[in-house]
């Protein structure tokens, strides 16, 4: 598709034939300044209004000028299996590694990867070196983002405690003044319940959410994998579901205590991975606690069976990969080492149910690129992390294609869901197809897919566990803040 060349008139040349008769025509101009785009006869999904259906839209000078919903004969033949247009995604949780570990990722490469994944807003976590425990790092990250030329918006997450050491509070007020979108010591949990209690109260006063990596450090100490059948058979040190659930329970108890004095407090539990954690949050939400949570695409779609060599999606496998038929890959792929560990198929299913019933507010990638030397090692020696910002959409669409997740819910989990978690403070506009606003959207060809591999991935780090895998849904265009952020090559 000649998405980024020529003027704005509709032409069909290069159009992907698989979009069917009368499929959408997307034409854009790759002007660095402002995108020009007309899309006709596409499937629009707008989580802001809950509306989806056939439609057309026009971007002029970087501004979304018109959105037209088609009816009757005009809408004939336009479905969610062709070209779809959705608001740009927000990632609540990305480790962009700069400053400190530029062999794994830089701000520039991370934002290129984000744009490839359809993300137009990225929360950059605070575990850089040095940690973002005072405004200097946030300001530097913002400057690096501006220098990269990417229109993808970076929201800095400030550390919760000084040096992320969990002993005294970071410069929370100054970080908030410098625009911190949230506070978090991730990937470290806040060990001290007392510090967490203070931090929640203080952050609540500032109106900034606290993002917690909930894990009991004693129960997870030295762990390499989910404590379960796979770890038992492979001889890997297991981290039990209780390691996460004990911390979630503790955090919710502290939240309930703090909210009595500080009604503005907000706790966000990152990358929940167990059925028990989802159940605890469901109950806490029912009790009215100000808690939100996310799950990652890999915890929805992958299981610990992958460590044994299974390559089945979570919804296609059982908890016993040896009984599911021949194993597709060798065991112990260090690219699968991640925190929290990939869990059982039952846990993944519970995370999906949580997403469907609203217990889970958002899907966040926990994009964690790892430099090659830190990955090409024994499984237990690998630095944990999966670089998933480019494959998040594909994994969710795989669940959509399997009939496990409605398309609109998948898109909401990447757009309106994370925006609600962050709250009104950092966001200038809520995600949506909002006429008159700077265009912030993704054009996806649902009839096409792509193969994960070195040629298609923009992130710098070691290969993803999905390398070689075909994923559904090709991101044709990502427009952030009215500017072209990503355009599929050869499109």
């Amino acid at each position: 598709m000649n998405a980024a060349s020529g003027s704005g008139s509709n032409v069909g040349s290069g159009q992907n034939g698989a979009t069917g008769p009368g499929g959408a025509l997307a034409r854009g101009r790759a002007a660095a300044a402002s995108a020009e785009l007309e899309i006709s006869r596409a499937w629009l999904v707008d989580p802001a209004t809950g509306r989806e259906g056939p439609g057309e839209l026009v971007v002029r000078d970087g501004v979304l000028r018109a959105v037209t919903w088609l009816r009757g004969a005009d809408a004939a033949g336009v479905g969610p299996d062709g070209v779809i247009v959705v608001p740009g995604f927000t990632d609540l949780h990305a480790h962009l590694r700069e400053p400190g570990d530029e062999a794994a990722e830089t701000i520039a490469s991370g934002l290129a990867a984000a744009a490839h994944g359809g993300f137009t807003t990225v929360c950059a976590m605070a575990d850089t070196t040095p940690a973002a425990d005072e405004p200097g790092v946030l300001i530097r990250v913002r400057a690096l983002a501006a220098a990269s030329g990417s229109p993808v918006r970076v929201l800095g997450v400030g550390a919760l405690t000084a040096g992320r050491a969990g002993e005294r509070l970071a410069a929370l007020g100054e970080l908030a003044d410098a625009g911190a979108a949230a506070f978090s010591d991730d990937p470290a949990p806040v060990r001290s319940a007392s510090i967490l209690r203070s931090a929640l109260a203080y952050a609540g006063m500032l109106g900034v959410p606290v993002v917690e990596h909930a894990v009991d450090p004693g129960l997870s100490h030295g762990a390499e994998a989910n404590d379960g059948l796979v770890a038992t058979v492979l001889g890997l040190r297991g981290s039990p579901a209780a390691a996460e659930e004990a911390a979630v329970g503790r955090d919710l108890a502290i939240l309930a205590d703090v909210v009595r004095d500080v009604p503005g407090v907000r706790l966000h539990l990152a990358h929940l991975s167990t059925a028990g954690s989802i159940a605890l949050v469901r109950r806490a939400k029912a009790a009215g606690l100000p808690v939100t949570c996310d799950v990652t695409p890999h915890h929805l779609a992958l299981t610990d069976g992958w460590l044994a060599g299974s390559r089945r999606w979570a919804w296609d496998g059982s908890d016993n990969p040896w009984a599911d038929g021949p194993l597709a890959a060798a065991p112990y792929a260090s690219s699968l080492r991640v925190e929290p560990p990939l869990r059982s198929a039952a846990d993944a299913a519970a995370c999906l149910v949580g997403l469907l019933d609203g217990t889970v507010d958002a899907v966040a990638t926990d994009h964690a690129p790892i430099a090659r030397p830190d990955r090409e090692v024994e499984f237990g020696m690998s630095v944990p992390g999966i670089a998933g910002i480019e494959t998040a959409l594909g994994l969710l669409l795989a669940a959509v294609d399997a009939g496990r997740l409605p398309l609109a819910r998948a898109i909401a989990a990447l757009t309106s869901g994370p925006a609600r978690v962050l709250g009104p403070r950092p966001a200038s506009t809520a995600p949506g197809l909002i006429v008159g606003a700077r265009a912030d959207l993704v054009v996806i060809d649902r009839s096409a897919g792509w193969t994960v591999g070195p040629a298609t991935i923009r992130s710098l780090g070691a290969p993803s566990p999905l390398v070689g895998r075909d994923l559904p849904g090709l991101v044709l265009l990502t427009i952030a803040d009215g500017r072209l952020a990503w355009e599929a090559s050869g499109a």
Partner: protein, 355 residues
């Protein structure tokens, strides 16, 4: 984890292995010169072995025992082959067993102990593998503290990898020498239907895991017995079954139930660090509740075999009079270990072809 057929080899009844006699190689000849139905370049664990392949290992081990009985216990089979023995964990018995096995086959043996190598300078595992390969190693015997290290080595090393023990995961040569020892000593020459008890710290034991694969495959009535903290998780494995065929075994902390009418009792070494890790109150308490004493052994069948992978903590997991008693086949395990390792080096070398 079923191995795939090498490219180009036609499907044949041998692949199914039903009723086809196992062709035992003449171990005096070069390994690659004979039509032996062995297709594995590496041996990382016993789970890849079909019944016929296990039988081939057993019969080849018989042939190696014959070699060991000769006045000059040496054959030229691996002459010119460099076997590098790379041990990342302290071990004397297993390392020496591999070394003797390789030398009996006339291989050139290089021993690398990590304390004296550049590993202590922070050289990565893959760098070490590349270096060893560049120095001419054709076969690598690896002992490593991380589960999965042998798999990683197999993915990067150009020759054959023989797993000498990786983390808690696998110790295939130990499981095969255990099986060989049982088959030689048990009436009828088979473990099928026999009650075999693995007693002790199975959770942290690669010996236990490999034996779970091989003994369930051989049709043994396998029991794993130990304190709840040291058999944790194994109940789930027993419940879901081993491998694609979901072969069952039994897990219990009731030592009397486990030992009653047992044909074989294999005690596992108890590591001191289990106490510091909070998994056990004391060695004394472990010994009192789970140690293999003469009184406990009396629950087993008369003449039941007593085994131990070594090294033994006498008076902890096994009483000295049991370890040295007439039912003990522990020293025979050590002797058979050399023959089994010779057999495996020989079979793996055949897949590599002539140098």
């Amino acid at each position: 984890m079923s191995p795939s057929r090498p490219p180009g080899s036609p499907a044949s009844p041998e692949d199914e292995g039903v009723g086809i006699p196992v062709v035992v190689p003449s171990v005096d000849a070069a390994p690659h010169s004979q039509p032996v139905a062995w297709r594995h370049r590496h041996l990382l664990d016993v789970d890849i072995l079909s019944a016929d392949e296990t039988e081939l290992v057993m019969r080849t081990t018989d042939a190696m025992r014959e070699v060991l009985g000769r006045p000059i216990a040496k054959v030229p089979a691996l002459r010119g082959t460099n076997v590098t023995i790379l041990f990342y964990e302290a071990s004397t018995r297993t390392r020496v067993s591999f070394e003797v096995a390789a030398k009996n086959l006339s291989a050139d043996v290089v021993n690398i102990a990590t304390a004296t190598s550049s590993v202590v300078k922070g050289e990565s595992f893959l760098d070490t593998l590349r270096t060893i390969e560049a120095l001419g190693a054709g076969m690598l015997v690896l002992r490593h503290s991380h589960s999965g290290a042998a798999q990683l080595a197999a993915e990067h090393f150009g020759g054959s990898v023989l797993n000498g023990g990786d983390g808690w995961h696998a110790h295939p040569t130990q499981a095969l020498l255990d099986l060989y020892t049982m088959r030689r000593r048990l009436p009828g020459g088979t473990v099928a239907g026999r009650k075999v008890v693995i007693l002790g710290d199975a959770l942290h034991s690669r010996v236990a895991r490999s034996n779970i694969w091989s003994l369930t495959a051989a049709g043994a009535d396998l029991w794993v017995c130990g304190p709840a903290t040291l058999v944790r998780g194994l109940e789930a494995w027993a419940g879901s079954g081993v491998g694609p065929a979901s072969r069952r075994f039994t897990v219990t902390s009731d030592v009397n139930a486990a030992l009653r009418d047992a044909d074989v009792v294999m005690a596992l070494r108890l590591q001191q660090e289990r106490m510091s890790g909070g998994l056990l109150p004391s060695l004394r308490e472990y010994s009192a509740r789970f140690g293999l004493t003469r009184e406990r052994l009396a629950l087993a069948r008369p003449g039941a075999l007593v085994m131990h992978p070594g090294p033994i903590n006498e008076g902890v997991e096994i009483a000295p009079d049991v370890a040295e008693g007439i039912q003990s086949v522990i020293t025979e395990q050590v002797a058979n270990g050399v023959a089994v390792r010779m057999a495996l080096l020989y079979l793996l070398a055949g897949v590599r072809g002539p140098r």
